[in-house]
């Protein structure tokens, strides 16, 4: 299919150009950056974040926002580890049940979040923020602050075994991303997320049950948070309350940097992939080029502003909140 190279078509690719630009920049400063081994490292740090950001992408597509991920991840990670260890400690035995178990927990937490938001008519920002506190508290209550170790070599092979230079984790995350892509593009629910984001009252007038859709969106997000939790545990072999730390700001920043609009209806999971990579490339690149650590927060901030600035189509925005 040939697409005309209008500004509009070009605009869609801006986040990708930003990513490529960053890679070139860091490579110019330190050629080591451009290596398969380093890309594998970036892939490892990106995998959990990608899952979480993908989850919240669905919510943001609907024009809502979800700030509960840190709590949800903590609960899922901790319960996943407990289940795995209780069921024999290995994925080869009954332990594999911990994976669907964790996903189910993510879904339940997402459902609770969505129901509070929809049924009590509390804006998602506040509902999910509150529920995030509850999640963190819950995981703290479960662990009493302890860390749970997972030594199962099969589970840890997500990190240690490599195919084509990349760890299994990265491939698994990619597979999950494809599933997310499928949900987004080829299922009714996925398309209806866009409809709600494009105009909720119009969607309702067409007979969509938007309340139920919103709850579904939060459930899907919850499941992806659970996936993120599993990858985060696989990366460090430790499940704890802090497993969820920092995911909130990082994932939402990634989504926006990737070009998905916070007002809903535009963008998607591929944008999120690019956004996650941009954020992680910056994080990795700053260390690789040896930027003093006290500058890193500031430089990250500047680069994020620049990336969002470049990838927003300002003509279509009347005003921005």
């Amino acid at each position: 299919m040939t697409q005309r190279l209008t500004m509009e078509n070009l605009r869609k690719w801006v986040p990708l150009f930003v990513l490529i630009g960053l890679v070139l920049f860091f490579t110019a400063v330190n050629p080591n950056f451009l290596s398969l081994r380093n890309f594998a490292r970036i892939a490892i740090s990106s995998s959990p974040a990608l899952m979480v950001a993908t989850g919240v992408t669905f919510v943001i597509l609907m024009g809502s926002i979800d700030l509960s991920m840190e709590g949800t991840i903590a609960v899922c990670a901790v319960l996943f580890a407990l289940m795995l260890n209780a069921l024999g400690g290995s994925l080869s035995g009954a332990g594999w049940l911990a994976i669907p178990g964790a996903l189910l927990i993510g879904a339940v937490l997402g459902a609770v979040n969505g129901l509070i938001h929809v049924k009590l008519k509390i804006p998602s920002f506040m509902a999910s923020l509150s529920l995030g506190f509850v999640g963190i508290g819950l995981s703290l209550l479960i662990t009493g602050g302890d860390r749970i170790l997972i030594e199962d070599p099969i589970f840890r092979s997500l990190l240690t075994v490599r195919v084509g230079g990349f760890p299994l984790m990265a491939w698994a995350a990619l597979a999950c991303l494809l599933i997310a892509w499928f949900i987004q593009d080829d299922t009714t629910v996925g398309r209806n997320f866009y409809a709600v984001g494009g105009g909720e009252d119009l969607a309702r007038a067409s007979g969509l049950n938007t309340g139920r859709l919103r709850v579904t969106g939060f459930i899907v997000a919850g499941i992806f948070y659970a996936l993120g939790a599993i990858f985060a545990v696989a990366r460090l072999g430790i499940a704890e309350t802090e497993t969820g730390q920092n995911f909130m700001f990082v994932s939402i920043t990634s989504v926006v940097v990737g070009g998905t609009s916070l007002s809903g209806g535009s963008g998607g999971v591929w944008n999120t992939l690019v956004g996650v990579l941009i954020v992680n490339v910056i994080g990795n690149g700053m260390v690789v080029v040896g930027l003093p650590d006290y500058f890193q927060d500031g430089v990250l901030g500047l680069l994020v502003i620049a990336a969002v600035y470049l990838s927003t189509d300002r003509r279509s925005l009347f005003f921005v909140k």
Binding site: N30, N32, F33, S35, R37, N38, A40, R41, I42, I44, S45, K119, L120, K121, L140, T143, G144, G145, D146, R147, L149, L159, T160, P167, A232, R235, L236, G237, I238, E240, T241, E242, T243, Q245, N246, G283, N284, M286, V287, V288, V289, G290, D293, Y294
Partner: protein, 371 residues
């Protein structure tokens, strides 16, 4: 659910009133209760409440502190649950206001053990406690110009750890394992935290004695496992095989570093850390980690609470004690592969029975200030 919705919609009509009512209610109640006299500050209390205020529960160090605190509480014949936990989550503001609330509830009948979270926060905490006539012992964070003896009995003691020496020792263990040559990186804690500064200093001191060890980079990873993991992967790209050893300012960061190495299939890189968490000691026993420093948080948790408690009951008079009993260093022990197993059975698998009245049994002498 619809009845809930109705209820809520009905409620919202009154939201303004509700807000105003709650505000007025507070004022009114305050006015009415102002008739009740203020409780007189007692000098000592026969049965003070015992409280630990600390950063968070998700860190093994603080978990050991709490375990020690609870052990002490049990030694008094109370339940573990009788220890009041105040978690500030890294917020000095919350730390202070929680302590204020506690003091306003129990008045002088409280014995507090506190990590004030940030050095500047120590003064207001101590001032609040002594104002209420209660007793406090602090650990870690205190500015140099603040001393227990300036507050009579109420500021019982301050314990901290001199990290420079032990950190230098672990660095030496590391450098020796590297054969005295090659590149090394250091991952530090939150840069402005005192332990982070001291542990980095110790590391630098050791470097002087090893001219062939090349310092590649120092970077803060904020005591955080995930961040350490990320920073280490960055280092691997930047320096590649030039890295021959890693010096971490805490066990939690070492876990992240080891996992980053593991992801690359690097199993034998020498790594040393600090804190002596059970998991770290186990790793030393297995040879995955080279050394750590045991700070005996369990004992510190118990003894800090004990000091405040016995001062509050009047069992001893802090102002009568010498200064080295008011400000002292906590115990440190470097643990290496040689003694890890023995150490594990002695300190980790079971906790030794301590005599909580022997306050200074493990203390390492008076605190020395730089200037």
């Amino acid at each position: 659910m619809s009845f809930i919705k109705n209820y809520i919609e009905h409620q919202t009509l009154n939201r303004r009133n509700l807000l105003l009512l709650s505000a007025w209610g507070l004022c009114g109640a305050a006015a009415s209760s102002s008739l009740i006299g203020r409780q007189a500050a007692a000098a000592t209390s026969p049965d003070p409440k015992i409280c630990w205020s600390y950063r968070d529960r998700t860190n093994p160090f603080w978990n050991s502190i709490v375990a020690g605190g609870e052990a002490f509480v049990r030694s008094l014949g109370r339940q573990s649950g009788d220890l009041i936990n105040l978690i500030n989550g890294g917020s000095s503001e919350k730390s202070l206001s929680d302590i204020q609330s506690l003091l306003s509830r129990y008045g002088s009948g409280v014995a507090l053990a506190v990590d004030p979270n940030d050095m500047p926060n120590c003064r207001p905490v101590v001032e609040a406690v002594s104002h209420a006539g209660a007793y406090v012992s602090t650990i870690w964070n205190k500015t140099d110009d603040l001393h227990p003896w300036d507050f009579g009995d109420n500021y019982v003691s301050h314990m901290t750890w001199s990290d420079v020496g032990p950190s230098e020792q672990t660095a030496r263990v590391l450098f020796d394992a590297m054969g005295g040559k090659g590149g090394v990186v250091h991952l530090g804690g939150i840069a402005s935290n005192n332990p982070a500064i001291e542990r980095q200093q110790g590391f630098k001191n050791a470097l002087k004695a090893y001219p062939n060890i090349q310092l590649l980079a120092i970077q803060a990873a904020d005591w955080d496992t995930q961040k350490a993991n990320q920073v280490m992967s960055g280092f691997l790209t930047r320096y590649g095989d030039a890295i021959k050893g890693v010096h971490c300012a805490s066990d939690t960061m070492a876990y992240g570093v080891i996992e980053a190495l593991r992801a690359e299939g690097i199993e034998n890189m020498p790594v040393v850390s600090y804190d002596g968490n059970p998991q770290a000691i186990e790793m030393i026993a297995k040879g995955k980690l080279l050394a750590t420093v045991f700070t005996n948080a369990y004992w510190a948790g118990g003894i800090t609470a004990s000091l405040a408690y016995y001062a509050a009951t009047g069992a001893f008079k802090p102002s009568a004690e010498p200064r080295e009993h008011r400000e002292f260093y906590g115990p440190t022990a470097v643990i290496t592969t040689k003694d890890a197993q023995e150490f594990k059975t002695k300190y980790i698998d079971t906790n030794p029975e301590y005599n909580w009245k022997d306050f200074w049994s493990l203390a390492k002498g008076p605190i020395r200030y730089k200037s």
